[in-house]
């Protein structure tokens, strides 16, 4: 019965299943590299999911949906930015509040939208590439957001490693006092990073409601934001490992769904918890070298900054 699972389709659906978490985790990685811990990823994702869904349904354009989702995620993260960067509220508490707010708010504005199908997101037409055997269905028959998320992995990696702006961002996350002494605008840089993180989380949420499911139901992110947060930490703040972690999680999710469908004699509860367990386990093993992981961790993570000293 396991033989009834088609490996090609499995890998192709793995990429679709992983994209929401990958997008959210990449955004959070940039936020944390700037020294800010935003635990509101789940709230921003689900707000993006409903905002994108409404915009796509009302305009009939999935593209407009994704733009609206990014804007809504960024708008929600702006609340977090104002509270933590200007009013110096505690980042952990504010992030948790943001998650609760986002879940409730999305349920409220999404009331009239349950049970509707959104306009389909077209697949990217890559011509003869899509017709290649094996590789074609796996790599070249996806919607544009899958390729956007992969491009974002490379872009974030290059930005942090190679660009001067990325160096300044890392410096702010490493020691905001030293960065301030050198004349860098710590608060401004952090707000920009938070907005980027919010927009990415919003995109991830919209991908769930517009492509992956595609439908709106209350609480549909179901902890994806928390998994994104965990992946950032266990990936030691490296974009490449975030990709690996997200695809691993997506892969096990798709596999266990297939196993459930194939009727394997394992209780459903074990299969459902498998993606969370396996992802955490593998990433813990990868980041077991504590000293190296600590080196990559932003030293000022979660600390409030005020230019008074």
């Amino acid at each position: 019965m396991i033989g009834s699972i088609d490996p090609i389709l499995l890998i192709a659906s793995l990429m679709v299943a992983s994209t929401p978490i990958l997008l959210a985790a990449l955004g959070e990685l940039v936020v944390e590299k700037a020294g800010v811990l935003n635990l509101g990823v789940e709230g921003m994702m689900i707000t993006g999911a409903i905002a994108g869904f409404i915009a796509a349904v009302e305009t009939g354009s999935p593209f407009a949906g994704f733009v609206a989702a990014a804007a809504a995620g960024a708008a929600l993260s702006l609340i977090f930015a104002l509270l933590t960067q200007f009013l110096l509220s505690n980042q952990v508490a504010t992030g948790l509040a943001l998650t609760l707010f986002g879940i409730g708010f999305s349920a409220l504005i999404g009331q009239g939208y349950t049970g509707i199908r959104p306009p389909a997101t077209p697949r990217l037409d890559l011509g003869p590439l899509s017709d290649l055997p094996v590789i074609g269905p796996i790599l070249f028959r996806h919607d544009p957001m899958v390729y956007v998320s992969l491009a974002l992995v490379v872009a974030v990696g290059l930005f942090l490693r190679r660009s001067r702006a990325g160096l300044i961002l890392r410096a702010v996350g490493e020691s905001h006092d030293a960065a301030h002494a050198l004349g860098y605008k710590v608060v401004r840089i952090r707000i920009l990073a938070i907005l980027f993180g919010g927009a990415c989380a919003g995109l991830g949420g919209a991908y769930l409601s517009l492509v992956r499911v595609p439908q709106w139901t209350e609480g549909m992110t179901a902890g994806a934001g928390w998994i994104a947060l965990a992946i950032v930490v266990f990936a030691s703040w490296r974009p490449g490992r975030v990709l690996a972690g997200a695809y691993l999680f997506g892969g096990v999710t798709v596999l266990q769904l297939n196993l459930q469908a194939a009727g394997v004699a394992i209780p459903v509860q074990y299969l459902s918890m498998a993606p969370y367990l396996i992802t955490i386990l593998v990433l813990v093993v990868i980041s077991a070298d504590r000293s190296r992981a600590a080196l990559n961790a932003p030293a000022a993570l979660g600390k409030s900054f005020h230019a008074s000293s």
Binding site: A171, S175, A178, Y184
Partner: protein
Amino acid sequence: MTGVEQLGDRPELLAVEGLTKAYPGVVANSDVSFTVAEGEIHALLGENGAGKSTLVKTIYGLVRPDSGQMRMSGAPFAPAEPRAARAAGVAMVFQHFSLFEALTVAENVALGMERPPPQRALSARIRDVSEAYGLPLDPARLVGDLSAGERQRVEIIRCLLQEPRLLIMDEPTSVLTPQEVGILFATLRKLSAEGTAILYISHKLEEIRALCDSATILRRGKVVATCTPREKTARDLAELMVGETLTPPARPAPAEWEGPPALEVSGLTVASPMPFGTSLKGIGFTVKRGEVLGIAGVAGNGQDELLLALSGELRSAPEMVRAAGHPVGQEGPNERRRRGFVSAPEERLGHAAAPAMSLVENALLSGAIRRGLVRRGFVDWRRTRAFAAEVVQDYDVRTPGTHVAARALSGGNLQKFVIGRELSQQPAVIVVNQPTWGVDAAAAAAIRQVLLDRAAEGAAVVVISQDLDELLEIADRFAALNEGRLSAPRPVQGLTVEEIGLMMGGAHGMHAAAGDAGEHLHAQA
């Protein structure tokens, strides 16, 4: 090389006129005026809290003055941010390093420049400039792995690559061995000869006499004197700076005590619990009752770890630490307190004291065991309040009351409270790290005096400090930490500054820029 009589010929570079800056409750600078000529090495001399740091932060564009103005080569100069100051040719080496530990040397340098060249070209330039000034550096290394002296080189190189007209150095020698100080001075003289003016901030009088062409002395935010330091004695400068005459601590006559050494450390080897920390390697020493052991060393060579290992926060094999003959290496802080260990770490807020808790609660935290402040699991608040009040009274802690939060006290007052709290517990072994760091001269003298008094009463005292003068003043024997290893303790009598410098690790691979590094060492003695 630069006589005072030449100063009149040099054109004025920076003029500060009537600068005033007030913070709530304190006037940091009040009507401060002075001028610096091109190529001049100008000292800003003053105690902690005299307003030196606020003044240089104003010049560097980090603080905006309430009133007053500055001129740079005759043109009005009012930098709104450090970028503007850098553009005008001002560079600054910070007292507390403005470096990023997880970044490489080259990345750190790039962050301090307006338009850095690509990494590869920058690395080559860092190599060139650092060799030219006798401060070798590897651009690819992580700053977190460097010694304190090497980190300062990174800061200096970062400034030199901008070719500044005015270089500000805020307490640059507090982290250097005497040999490294000599090399730094040679570098600064070379820069001065090339026309770069240097504003040198310090409270170390002999250094200023050896290096600086002129000095502006600040006390409580005001300029109290402008002079040529070479024409004054260190004592004159000290009295100008402090505004009163100081009496060195009195040494009570040594007494002989019976029994085994109060503290014996042998082969103490423990890994550091902190990232970028220094692990201790085979440390050994003994301290008898009534004796003061001074431990010197450049910051970051294992001082924090040694304090942790002695206080019990960092545990080791039982035999590595012995108290009065008993192995205690495996015991935690509370068990050691019962045996009479007291300790005061360097970091006052967050380690020695809980910032948000009141002085009474802080007194309870370390005094509970030896002062019997807890009965059957319940706090005896009446006795605790009395204990806190006693410490405030006996150690002249200036505070509105014992209900005040620890973080509301000034650094010096909190230090007096922390030291007082520990020393009021009939200690048998006292371990302190930087006991007078950031404390004004009168309070520092008082703290040293109590340490000596407790020794005279039979306590064994270990003083870890980066202030050599302090150690030479109060210690009976002297040792130095270097990369987690301790030199063999030697009697203080007859030690020369050169020998002390070698015990601290010498020049750490530096070499002199102009070959005259040796001459300043004598001025240090």
